[in-house]
Symmetry: C2
Subunit: 261 residues, 2 copies
């Protein structure tokens, strides 16, 4: 089966039926994939406010109402079953990874779907800019920075960024391309000197994998969707559910619809 050419709806059905259990990168090409964070209603206003105040790191593509399981951007979907792997955290501690969250679901759960860099990596590649971690078949390198997010209620913490090395001319083009996607991280937050944003060693990422930075290339940093999950976890919520890394929610929204120009 060619997962790349299937629709988002077809992929979600295969995930729900247990026929897809792995990472979703490259599936249903052109459809927007999203990160998941589930919190209780009591934490939802503060978290929604945190996302509103930090749109570059927390670009919301949908928020479900308390107890709601169907996303507006994926009619017919069930957030409890349509992601291949979920992670359960209680009081900020990892508990287990599960294939669905039917047993965990409660009526006061609020689901946050957060945009993912897959959306802007496709147009970067189509513009001829190589994406190193895709070339090297690993995860994108991510770093905790010395840049503070804007806090909201109980939620506060440092900005996490992802890094893609590229030629200087490509970096300029990458600013233009990703600026058109303010709804999914937008323009880079830094180009050039990792130490200026508190990164001691660019070859030792805090999350993901190190990638090669070639002679004459410059590291380009984008706000990363790991930020809201890391910040929420710090507050040790009674329960928090996320997708397992790389196992995303695939919506019916098209990436091209997230471009403003």
């Amino acid at each position: 089966m060619n997962y790349e050419t299937m629709t988002a709806q077809q992929i979600r059905q295969l995930i729900r039926d247990g026929q897809i259990t792995g990472p979703t990168a490259g599936m249903a090409k052109g459809f927007t994939q999203a990160n998941l964070a589930i919190l209780r209603k009591e934490d939802a206003f503060d978290f929604l406010l945190f996302c509103q105040r930090n749109p570059k790191s927390c670009p919301l593509v949908d928020v479900l109402e308390p107890g709601q399981i169907e996303s507006l951007i994926a009619p017919g979907s069930d957030i409890r079953t349509d992601i291949p792997n979920y992670r359960i955290y209680k009081d900020g501690e990892y508990v287990e990874e599960v294939a669905n969250i039917l047993d965990y679901w409660e009526d006061d759960f609020v689901c946050f779907l957060i945009g993912c860099s897959f959306t802007f990596e496709t147009p970067l590649q189509e513009s001829g800019i190589p994406i190193r971690h895709i070339e090297e078949g690993c995860n994108v390198p991510m770093y905790k920075t010395s840049v503070a997010t804007t806090s909201a209620g109980k939620f506060h913490g440092p900005l996490v960024v992802s890094m893609r090395p590229m030629k200087h001319a490509d970096a300029i083009r990458a600013v233009q391309i990703t600026s058109r996607f303010p709804g999914v991280h937008g323009a880079p937050v830094h180009i050039g000197d990792p130490s200026q944003i508190g990164i001691k060693d660019v070859h030792k990422p805090d999350f993901g994998d190190a990638v090669t930075i070639k002679e004459g290339e410059v590291p380009v940093f984008w706000a990363c969707g790991v930020t809201p999950q890391a910040v929420a976890m710090q507050s040790k919520p009674s329960i928090m559910i996320t997708h397992a890394p790389g196992h995303m929610f695939i919506s019916d929204l098209k990436d091209v619809h997230l471009s403003v120009l």
Copy 2:
């Protein structure tokens, strides 16, 4: 005194001191002006969700935490005194207009600051596109449409749009310019045929004033910040406080910072 060249902070101080009591259009040029909506905490999650789901009509520039009076985008400000005129509504009914809301303030009030079309009218004018309601010295014409907003909790209702007539070539340029401002309504929602969005008579706006549409001009419609106020009012909240029309909150944010490209 030349209000146009003053800083936002200077204007806010004059408003607080009762020395400015009228509309704020043209004051502190280049600084972002915002609409105000205040609701109780019990309504705040639903309203924040409504804004998140309807970013074109409800572009949030700041949301204050419950009981907070100082906006993050205007250090030193006091939301209770720094707008020239406020309107009080109880159970969806207009009560009175007041110069400050110190007597009304309660600790569970949540303030929403919503972007305003002033931000994109300046670059339109600078690009040589005349803005008819400014030329004619009246308010922008606004219309209820047949386009539904995306509901959230108790909040639902039709999209309200503002209209600016212009030459066809200017309409194309206006799409480009306003697309760069997704944080303040962004690109138009319709160009050309008012009946397609449920407007029966473009010469009879539901709010604001009618303006001249000259031979060879096309009406261009943008999502309007009146939408969230109208929608919130429909739900008859126990209390809701807004700015009086044209009497805006002036933040320290610069309009140019709201441009994505």
